[in-house]
């Protein structure tokens, strides 16, 4: 290691056939310092100057790259022959010169403008939404046909897999669903009590809680929870199998990934979500009953008799009928996103997020549309 001094001199700069002297450490440590000089000098170089490289001390790839920038690959090749370089330094210069000669032919395209980029991005997103929708519809058709094909052949039902998924996404979700809806039920009752008290109609809190939970909140809250809990799990499971090429292995073994992986999950969701919805309705109304009993002086017996008197069956059926539809969509989106995973672990993460966002979006959108439709129909 020599002392890092550096001179990049030219004896007479304006003459055409001047001479050039380079010396010192041409290394990465001095790159920032050397680069502007090299770029400035390069413009004035005509390729006829006599070049003295004898003072050159340390040289690394950064320095060699600068020399190539200064002289061009062709000239440097000649220089490295005539100069008193040792074998190693010549090899370095030639290696860098060759590498850069190849690279300089390929020009990098200019950066696009911001507006173009924004518009391009919007276009990309719209296009990907379109593809997403198409893919989901196609996948839905594929799953439905496999489902119908399998329904008539009970020997191909994957009962073990179905049971495992049923436990995972049904039974294991009971505590969280029950607790959450119980709390929301209590909150709705509080809200109702506060507002209705102004009209002296506190007693209608019971109807409010029952109505909202049977018709909307029971199924909606459960579906959103399942979207977060189960759709993500489905995507991660299938996605990591995809990343590990297990899906390809299933295909080459002559098996159907839809039948093996998707149908058990879809059936498990179709069974689990309505049951969970029923639990959610009950525990939501229980939460409401608790608040009514504690702060509104409506005892449980009265709460129940009010429920009995009102015509709630219709609302219950409307709520419960939405459950299998949501279940089907959540399971489909979860599985489809899993199949979209490509290779890396990062991709698994991205698609898991996307599965949750999409399924929650679809659930709420569909619920809103259904509410409008049913309201108009007077059901």
């Amino acid at each position: 290691m020599t002392t890092p001094y550096l001179t990049s001199q030219q004896t007479s700069s304006t003459d055409a056939a001047s001479s050039l002297r380079l010396g010192g450490d041409w290394t990465l440590a001095h790159y920032s310092q050397l680069e502007p000089q090299v770029l400035a000098l390069r413009e004035r170089l005509q390729g006829k100057e006599s070049v003295d490289l004898s003072d050159l001390a340390a040289l690394d790839t950064a320095g060699a790259a600068l020399l190539v920038e200064l002289f061009g690959s062709e000239r440097l090749r000649q220089l490295s022959k005539q100069s008193e370089f040792n074998e190693q330094r010549r090899a370095l210069l030639l290696t860098v010169a060759d590498a850069m000669a190849d690279s300089q032919q390929a020009q990098t395209p200019p950066e696009p403008s911001v507006l173009r980029e924004v518009l391009g991005h919007i276009g990309e997103v719209v296009e990907s939404m379109w593809h997403q929708g198409r893919a989901l519809l196609g996948f839905m058709g594929l799953t439905l046909t496999s489902m119908l094909a399998i329904l008539v052949r009970p020997t191909r039902w994957r009962l073990t897999s179905l049971t495992a998924h049923l436990e995972q996404c049904g039974l294991n979700a009971v505590p969280i669903v029950a607790l959450l809806t119980f709390l929301v039920g209590a909150v709705v009752a509080f809200l109702g009590a506060t507002i209705l008290a102004d009209f002296g109609a506190s007693i209608y809190t019971v109807n409010l809680v029952a109505f909202s939970f049977l018709r909307e909140f029971g199924v909606l809250l459960t579906a959103i929870l399942m979207a977060g809990r189960t759709a993500s799990a489905f995507t991660a499971q299938i996605g990591s199998m995809k990343a590990n090429e297990e899906i390809d292995a299933i295909r080459t073994l002559g098996l159907s990934p839809i039948e093996l992986l998707v149908l058990p999950r879809v059936f498990a969701m179709l069974i689990a979500l309505p049951i969970l919805t029923f639990i959610a309705m009950l525990s939501g109304m229980l939460g409401g009953a608790l608040v009514c009993a504690l702060s509104l002086d409506i005892p449980l017996a009265m709460y129940l008799s009010i429920l009995q008197e009102s015509d709630l069956l219709r609302h219950f059926l409307v709520g419960l009928l939405k459950a299998p539809i949501f279940a089907f969509l959540i399971a489909l989106i979860g599985c489809l996103e899993g199949f979209k995973v490509s290779g890396s672990a990062q991709s698994v993460g991205e698609h898991t997020t996307s599965a949750v966002v999409q399924s929650i979006f679809v659930v709420i959108l569909l619920d809103a549309l259904a509410a409008l439709f049913l309201m108009e129909m007077g059901w």
Binding site: L28, V68, T108, S344
Partner: protein, 261 residues
């Protein structure tokens, strides 16, 4: 050969639970040489590499890199020392959220204090040096093939012009032509930059074509570390099987043929 030692490992022991990987292992790497490290699966080649670069605290023994014990240094000094070696990991370990040229430019910006434009310019040189086409620079690692990932990782390892290069199975997963070009690239860089190379490999062709010395890891230590012909003549069943099995003979023949030309 009396040469400057850049890595000195003495009495190294590594254990995972009750499983002993290394015991009383001694090892040297000299300046400017390419040392091939071979050994069967599970003999701790990668563990040795991790111990040397300071990713693993050995259970006993000393590891000196450039005469200093990495793990006992203060963070600042250690970081300075770490800039003097580059590591190419088995699967590349490129940062997946950055493009290839950003991957290479990152150490240049962080450590060499270059501006972004300068670093990108220099990154292009490194990418070309590693034998990648220029349009690869703007790609993300996920869209590269296995061989290109290796080359991109080499470009990053070379970013700071290191003095020691650690390569963990660099030619695994490359096609023979790509592997031969990669070998040649390492030889050229080692010669021209005075690089010392610690090369973990299974590739017999690599051993025959570019390695100055070969170290064999077996029986929890470095069994022998010497020139290839000396190692190949060592009387040990594993070494005999390794160098004189069908693949070993083929590689030796190919190397001899290349030497005659």
């Amino acid at each position: 050969m009396s040469q400057e030692t850049v890595i000195e490992v003495r009495d190294l022991s590594n254990r995972f639970g009750s499983q002993v990987v290394h015991e009383h292992l001694d090892f040297d790497l000299y300046r400017g040489e390419i040392l091939g490290v071979v050994g069967g699966s599970g003999t701790g080649k990668s563990v040795l590499l991790r111990s040397i670069v300071g990713l693993r605290q050995p259970n006993a023994g000393t590891v000196r890199v450039f005469g200093e014990e990495l793990l006992s240094l203060p963070a600042e000094r250690r970081s300075q020392l770490e800039r003097r070696f580059g590591v190419l990991y088995q699967r590349g370990a490129l940062f997946s959220s950055l493009t290839v040229s950003e991957n290479v430019a990152l150490p240049l910006i962080e450590h060499a204090g270059l501006s972004r434009a300068e670093a990108e310019r220099l990154a292009r040189v490194k990418i070309a040096l590693a034998g990648l086409p220029q349009d690869a620079g703007s790609k993300y690692p996920s869209s590269l093939s296995g061989g290109m990932v290796k080359r991109a990782a080499l470009a990053r390892a070379l970013a700071l012009d290191p003095e020691i290069l650690f390569l963990d199975e660099p030619t695994a997963g490359l096609d023979p032509i790509g592997a031969a070009a990669f070998d040649q690239l390492i030889r050229t860089l080692s010669d021209s930059l005075g690089l010392s190379v610690f090369l973990v490999t299974h590739d017999l062709d690599t051993l025959y074509s570019i390695c100055d010395r070969v170290a064999v890891l077996a029986q929890k230590k470095v069994l022998v570390a010497d020139r290839l012909d000396v190692v190949a003549a060592t009387n040990d069943p594993w070494i005999q099987e390794y160098f004189h099995g069908p693949r070993g003979r083929a590689a030796a023949k190919a190397a001899a043929a290349a030497g005659r030309q």
